[in-house]
Symmetry: C2
């Protein structure tokens, strides 16, 4: 069977991913190395993500702010492990004007202190916190910003890893360790339910190993989603920063007894990377599939303008239906409908929307008018699978159908995750076999999530790199049972999630 996307997932997953993005017109590579241009359909998904996440972030008591793009080099240096983690991937502004020289423009006006384009904002926000926080009455301090950040990545891939990306970063300060840890865990839980309920993307939450911690964090919590090639995608992180930044930036408060103490901090973020996760979780060999709740639009009406003499009545039938849907109060359900009135064959339009992942397509043609019907196609079903629905019933069918599509995507993703998760792999040979593709030159989708014990040693973790496997997280629910480390075979109690990853 011919598919809309060439190659298929099975044939060449990484290339399939690029082709899905292209076919859906989500984004494209820009002339600036590692940066992308996010096009309307892709940016529309981001707007949906922002809308809902922003609502959740505010509902949990955080306020939005905006901090400068540039960070003085001296700020970055204040927290030793933080600067070590980011030094190799910082874009640095060194000049502030251009000057003509030999008919060429060259950088001029050298800065006394270079400025780093923010890779993340703990340092510059820490500096402000040290001025804003005086007393226990100022705590907790709960802020968030929506911003662009830059990390000079060498190997980039659209949405998943780009030099510049869009994200939100929450930053909080608390009077006690307990409260800060609770905050970091709470925000990860917000992310988890958001991914499940909106992106239809189930995630596994847990702690990162010490080697995988965010530079400057005491604990990094993360959520990991399984993509259709069975690799893990780190979809979001939440960090308990302890007093590391509080000490580096001298952020103190006087407690109820008047004693001066350093605050405990957190930071947490998700990025446009989530869009990459959505694409790789749900799409098929016909292109993008979008969960209705984050689709920029939910319904397209496609008038089939086959015979000149019917065109006017078909267009009217289509527009009337669109108006009816728009006039309907769906009680908080977000339903945006578009009529595709382009001068183009109906089948071509149909494929256009299939590849864009539009949840519901409604085709109308002369025969539908005659029978007072419409023809509805759902993106979660095969492209030939269509349903005739009475014109009188279609408006009421929209929301239940969208909900059903949303649920189907979540169930399929859960099924994929379950079918490719193993908790019965006991020794390293079996483990290696599981993670080894049949064809090393052109690896097919293989491997998956392995739940197994880890002894806690860095050396075991490091042995995994040859396999391109890593410990994705130590899942939140730890059994506490005793077993043997899947790598070295020694006694171990820690439950770990092993996988290949993006």
């Amino acid at each position: 069977m011919k598919t809309a996307i060439t190659p298929t997932r099975q044939e060449d997953y990484p290339e399939w991913y690029q082709q899905v993005i292209k076919a859906a017109d989500l984004a494209e590579n820009s002339p600036v190395r590692g940066c992308m241009v996010i096009k309307p359909w892709g940016y529309g998904i981001w707007e949906k993500i922002q809308q809902e996440l922003d609502r959740r972030i505010k509902a949990t008591g955080h306020e939005n702010v905006y901090f400068p793009l540039f960070i003085p080099l001296s700020f970055l240096e204040k927290e030793a492990s933080h600067v070590e983690g980011f030094a190799k991937e910082c874009a640095i502004v060194t000049h502030h004007r251009l000057e003509g020289k030999d008919g060429k423009l060259i950088p001029a006006g050298e800065l006394e202190e270079p400025l780093v384009v923010r890779p993340t904002s703990e340092t510059i926000i820490g500096h402000s916190f040290s001025k804003w926080i005086r007393s226990h009455r100022d705590l907790p301090m709960l802020i968030n910003q929506w911003a662009n950040v830059v990390r000079w990545e060498m190997r980039t891939r659209m949405f998943l890893r780009t030099m510049e990306f869009l994200w939100q970063e929450g930053h909080t300060a608390h009077a006690t360790e307990e409260e800060a840890v609770e905050e970091a865990e709470k925000m990860l839980e917000e992310y988890r339910t958001f991914c499940k309920d909106f992106l239809a993307m189930p995630v596994i939450c847990g702690e990162k190993t010490p080697q995988e911690r965010f530079p400057g964090a005491v604990t990094t919590y993360a959520m990991e989603a399984m993509m259709q090639d069975r690799k893990a995608l780190q979809a979001g992180t939440s960090h308990y920063l302890g007093q590391n930044f509080a000490k580096a930036f001298d952020i103190t408060f006087s407690d109820t007894e008047g004693a001066l103490k350093h605050v405990y901090m957190t930071s947490w973020g998700v990025a446009t990377r989530l869009i990459g996760g959505v694409i790789m979780t749900h799409s098929d060999d016909d292109g993008l599939r979008l969960p209705p709740r984050i689709a920029p639009k939910q319904v397209v009406i496609i008038p089939f303008l086959t015979k000149e003499e019917h065109n006017e009545s078909v267009m009217k039938y289509a527009n009337d239906l669109a108006d009816d849907i728009r006039a309907q109060n769906f009680h908080g359900h977000d339903v945006t409908v578009v009529v595709d009135d382009r001068d183009m064959r109906g089948g071509e339009k149909n494929w256009h929307w299939i590849k864009k992942g539009m949840p519901i397509r409604i085709e109308v043609g002369p025969r539908d008018i005659e029978n007072n019907n419409v023809c509805m196609a759902r993106r979660d079903k095969g492209h030939k699978d269509k349903e005739i629905i009475a014109r009188n019933d279609i408006v009421a069918a929209i929301v239940p159908t969208l909900d059903d599509i949303q649920n189907t995507y979540l169930e399929q993703a859960l099924k994929m995750q379950k079918e490719n998760s193993r908790s019965d792999i006991a020794d390293f040979e079996e483990f290696k076999a599981f993670f080894t593709p049949k064809n090393a030159n052109k690896p097919e989708p293989h491997g998956g999530f392995v739940y197994a014990k880890w002894c806690g040693e860095d050396s075991c973790e490091n042995r995994l790199s040859d396999l391109k496997v890593s410990i994705r997280c130590l899942p939140t629910e730890q059994s506490g049972s005793e077993g043997t480390c899947v790598v070295c075979g020694k006694k171990a109690t820690i439950d770990a999630l092993y996988a290949k990853s993006y």
Copy 2:
């Protein structure tokens, strides 16, 4: 009379402006020269502006996208007057990592081609348009982005002129000059009605003189608002770019006859500068005044917790009222209410909200409960001016009161503009006298808008710079009558708006 803000507008307008921002906790200077930190109350205003402007931009057919922060130097160079206009104020990225040397971190990994941090995005978007546009069917192309931009300004002032600022920039391409000019004018008109209806800020629209054009534009349209020190603030611009960028980036389309033609383009933007305009249009010597439609919150309920034994019932009375307001369907009116339950004297809370410009304050205390009343204070009235309203009537009074405050602010701004506008100044001596402060060392608010003729010569425009006056725009409505240039006295037909400006 003591005022909440020291100095007053009359005493020292620029310092008053800084103190209003500080007292309302809108923003503060950051350690990065010329950049600011936008705090929750200030960012909340920006979110309101974004929400409504985004709605208008989409309603007029534009789609949101996102382009990279960095622009290759070679792109900027392609349009000669564009690069000339921006070369002196560009932040330039020259390195992509930090390296330790003699115990210090220094920039390393020099880029082959420096990257400019976008001062505006015509060039990088032009490059994409050249790939996206093939046929007349691809036109008009109507896009917009919300982004941060950087212009290395030497003299900065919070919101009004900062090195980094937030804005939206619309970019469009059209098949004909006529259509492009219409677009540029239409978007300026959208800005104008937005300023009037949401910011309660009346603006004068018109064309910029050739010397004041955006670098690369054929025509720059602008809107100018009068601040309370009678200076003009350029609140937004819309540019007809002609084929300048189309030729520089080879953006062509095949028309209906198959002939290859260059497109006609526009760009238009407004920025966080609008917040500075709102502050300077409406605030008084007690601090910020916010038009209800862009206030982050509209109503504060202040429980007066004067006697321990009443506190519980006062808090319940306050919270019940807040719940009643929240439960009310205001039919699209945005009403957010907050209960200020901080452990602090009622009078202190009151001043806190006056300085923040909260439109409506509702005080409740033990006596109000007894009489089943509340005490309402409006920010558009004096701070002692309060009104007793029956508890049963207060909820219904909210929206009409907010509308009334919104109208009052607009009327006051119109009155100020009118009272300080002159169209009867005929010669340059009178003109100079009008724009000369009584005390040159500490200029009081003086001058205003002068509508007078201009002969069209650069030389006359240049003579104004000693007075720190400029031609703000050539108002859209031109009388066409003949008169004499207010500067040189020669025959002139062009109507011009002269003013000092930010």
